[in-house]
């Protein structure tokens, strides 16, 4: 038995006071007699000493003493202290970066070895998400990117003196003084070849692998296969907007696929030749397009202009002055599938004349009478529309602004920088190979801590019960009188 405030036992002096009061000021028993005459003639006297030594143990006095003792004990804060194993404060850092994707089952098994009775805080790396307790290891999901566990370990060191790091490699981090780091490594040999570098510059794609392997390359959907090297430099066609490089699946798929895309930017447009209000209005209405004059535009729209050098990455020729074999009645027109004709309806195409394009073309956009090409991508970045539409109503049709929006979009693919998705840090692709399972014994014995069971409430309840009993006794005594 222990007491929080042993000094409170000085209050036991009140018991002595109660006894003294009961001796000296005990309320005399009331007794009614026919006459008090004779008693008045008997002198009063103090009780003899021998009766003080042996006070009558009245139930009331006993209850008063018990109440006082219970209250004093309650004030002293009674309790029982027993040494019991105390929970250890442990901070667990789990590396959830991409290299851990194939290691999560092992990591969860290691986490399950931790004693749930310990005071554990779990910190995810690299997100720094913090959880009290191990929680549900199945809910731990790695991210598809590399990450430095240093910040998570710093956070953990501020939480506990014992750290457990669960990862696939030894972190480049040193614990501060007084903090012990337990490494739980779930690395191991894995068959893995990954793309460690991917970039586009000067019209060429640079690919580097962690080991020589075959690469499947897709340039705007057109597939190519690269073989036998650890690095590749591939020429990419003008206008290519999406590149996808992938390796054969292995045990670590996170670094097996990279996608590079051109980010869209503002498209500067310049007009040349005959002014065309309808086209200008359609371009002005496009938020991505910006009309310039005497600049270096991304898109040049030439209307009825004579042939000249293509001073822009993308040039659209309307009613060209050259390159048309003959002009024809429009007749039945057909729209060929192409990004430039997406959303364009044939019935909207109202022309007064269409021209049969001369020479080879890369992709036909509109077929004229007899299937002759009247609009086409002559070569990448050069679009020709041999059509005349004055007073025909085409600009009033929905297909008109849609077509020019497609043109701006087409021109915009080459406007921004390339952005790669799925490319891991090179270090991430080098998977950890070391294995070091968790040894719970290494965490040390759980320290014996004095655990105190407090009895203050019980003492107060006991005092209350005794007080109620005392009240009942006193009331009964008063009724009896």
């Amino acid at each position: 038995m222990s007491f929080l405030h042993p000094g409170a036992f000085a209050g036991l002096a009140s018991i002595l006071l109660l006894i003294l009061l009961s001796l000296w000021r005990r309320r005399p028993t009331r007794f009614v007699v026919p006459s008090v005459r004779l008693w008045e003639r008997i002198p009063d006297r103090l009780p003899p000493v021998r009766s003080m030594r042996r006070p009558r143990a009245g139930i009331s006095l006993i209850l008063q003493i018990l109440v006082a003792a219970a209250l004093v004990t309650a004030m002293a804060g009674p309790g029982r202290v027993r040494p019991r194993p105390a929970p250890r404060r442990i901070a667990v850092v789990v590396d959830l970066s991409a290299p851990m994707i194939p290691r999560m089952d092992d990591a969860r098994r290691e986490l399950a070895k931790l004693d749930a009775a310990d005071d554990i805080v779990l910190i995810e790396s690299p997100s720094l998400a913090r959880h009290e307790g191990v929680g549900n290891p199945a809910a731990l999901k790695p991210v598809e990117r590399a990450g430095d566990p240093g910040p998570a370990l710093d956070l953990a060191a501020s939480e506990a003196k014992q750290l457990v790091f669960v990862g696939d490699r030894t972190p480049a981090w040193s614990p501060p003084p007084g903090v012990k780091l337990h490494l739980v490594l779930v690395g191991g040999p894995l068959r893995n070849v990954g793309i460690v570098d991917a970039n586009v510059g000067s019209g060429k794609l640079f690919l580097r692998l962690s080991a020589p392997a075959e690469v499947e390359l897709k340039l705007d959907g057109r597939a190519r296969r690269l073989t036998g090297s650890v690095a590749y430099l591939v020429e990419i066609p003008e206008g290519t907007s999406r590149i996808e490089a992938s390796l054969a699946p292995d045990e670590f798929p996170a670094d097996d696929r990279v996608v590079l895309e051109r980010e869209g930017g503002p498209v500067e447009v310049e007009f040349e030749g005959r002014p065309d209000r309808a086209i200008r209005a359609a371009i002005e209405a496009n938020p991505r397009a910006r009309i310039v004059r005497n600049g270096n535009p991304r898109l040049r729209i030439r209307v009825g202009a004579p042939p000249g050098p293509a001073a822009a990455p993308v040039v659209v020729e309307i009613d060209p002055a050259a390159g048309v074999e003959e002009w024809l009645e429009p007749g039945n027109l057909a729209v060929a599938p192409h990004p430039l004709t997406r959303g364009v309806e044939p019935e909207d195409l109202r022309f007064s004349q269409v021209g049969r394009l001369a020479g080879p073309v890369e992709a036909v956009l509109i077929h004229g009478p007899g299937g002759v090409p009247v609009a086409a991508v002559r070569r990448p970045g050069e679009i020709v529309l041999a059509v005349r539409y004055a007073s025909t109503g085409w600009p009033d049709r929905p297909s008109f602004p849609i077509f020019w929006a497609n043109v701006v979009e087409y021109a915009g693919f080459g406007a921004g920088a390339w952005r790669a998705r799925g490319l891991l840090d090179e270090a991430a692709s080098r998977l950890g190979t070391e294995r070091r399972p968790l040894d719970p014994a290494a965490l040390g014995e759980r320290p014996l801590a004095p655990v105190r069971t407090d009895f203050t409430g019980g003492s107060i309840v006991l005092a209350g019960l005794l007080l109620a009993l005392l009240w009942g006794v006193e009331r009964r005594s008063a009724d009896a009188e």
Binding site: R30, S35, R56
Partner: protein, 285 residues
């Protein structure tokens, strides 16, 4: 005090037979209002000489004392006393102190009063029941049932001293009380001058042997006065001594005033008290 049930006032046949063999002793000349068998203070037709007086016209010449005339040559008439029935004033103390004891003191006092009243009324006498300033008179043996009823229903009344102050004439005064009233000696002294007084001193057993020990606040049942005392054997012994003195004081008072005195405990058998003690003290004969 609760009234006694009537049956408590009814005596069994054996007791009545023995009781009716007795009568209330009368040691003084009575001055009653009713004719009876006891010598009274008034002149009457009994055989007992009372006094002489000068002859007056119209007197019965048979009452002339001729012997005296021979010596004194003056006519004197011999007068006789009148035999009277006794007049009993039954003073019942019905104050709260009389409710003490087991049985209560008042119960024995009532029954003794009933026996005495029964005897007096039975010989044609007059019984006046006093409780405080209240009184009710019963005459003759025909009033016995009514008297017993009144006695049985006697409720708490005033002090006996108030009764005594209102009693007149000459007769028997029986005061049944515990005699704790400090005014009683004076009131009884005045009464004893003209009356034949009998004191029935009824005490409870607890008054002889009080069950008090330790620190006690003793409260007077009538005045509410209290005295706090530590009581041990020493105090009990002192109390008994004082009680003896108290009883002796009343006995002395009785002797001094030619009164009868009987001290009795409330738990003593009534028949024994009535037929033995009262007779032994000369209250009955």
């Amino acid at each position: 005090m609760d009234p006694l049930p009537r049956r408590d006032m009814v005596f069994d046949g054996e007791f009545l037979k023995r009781l009716e063999a007795l009568r209330v002793a009368v040691r003084r000349v009575l001055h009653g209002r009713r004719e009876g068998e006891r010598p009274g203070s008034r002149r009457g037709g009994s055989s007992v000489f009372h006094s002489y007086r000068s002859y007056a016209q119209g007197d019965d010449f048979r009452s002339i004392d001729w012997s005296l005339y021979a010596r004194l040559e003056t006519l004197f008439v011999r007068e006789r006393t009148r035999d009277e029935a006794p007049a009993l004033h039954l003073v019942l103390d019905a104050t709260p102190s009389m409710s003490f004891g087991a049985p209560p003191k008042l119960e024995l006092a009532r029954r003794l009063g009933a026996a005495l009243g029964y005897l007096v009324a039975g010989e044609g006498g007059e019984v006046t029941l006093w409780t405080g300033a209240q009184s009710r008179t019963f005459r003759g043996d025909g009033s016995v049932p009514e008297f017993l009823d009144a006695l049985a229903t006697t409720a708490g009344g005033g002090r006996p001293a108030e009764s005594l102050a209102r009693i007149s004439g000459r007769g028997l005064v029986v005061a049944a009380s515990d005699f704790w009233d400090e005014d009683l000696p004076k009131a009884l002294g005045a009464t004893a001058a003209d009356h034949q007084v009998t004191l029935l001193h009824v005490l409870a057993r607890e008054e002889f042997d009080p069950p008090l020990r330790g620190r006690v606040r003793i409260v007077d049942s009538e005045t509410g006065d209290s005295a706090t005392r530590f009581i041990a054997e020493e105090e009990i012994a002192r109390y008994r001594t004082l009680l003896e003195e108290h009883i002796l004081g009343w006995r002395s008072w009785a002797i001094k005033h030619e009164a009868s005195y009987l001290r009795v405990a409330s738990d003593e058998p009534f028949e024994k008290v009535c037929l033995l003690y009262l007779r032994g003290e000369g209250v009955l004969e």
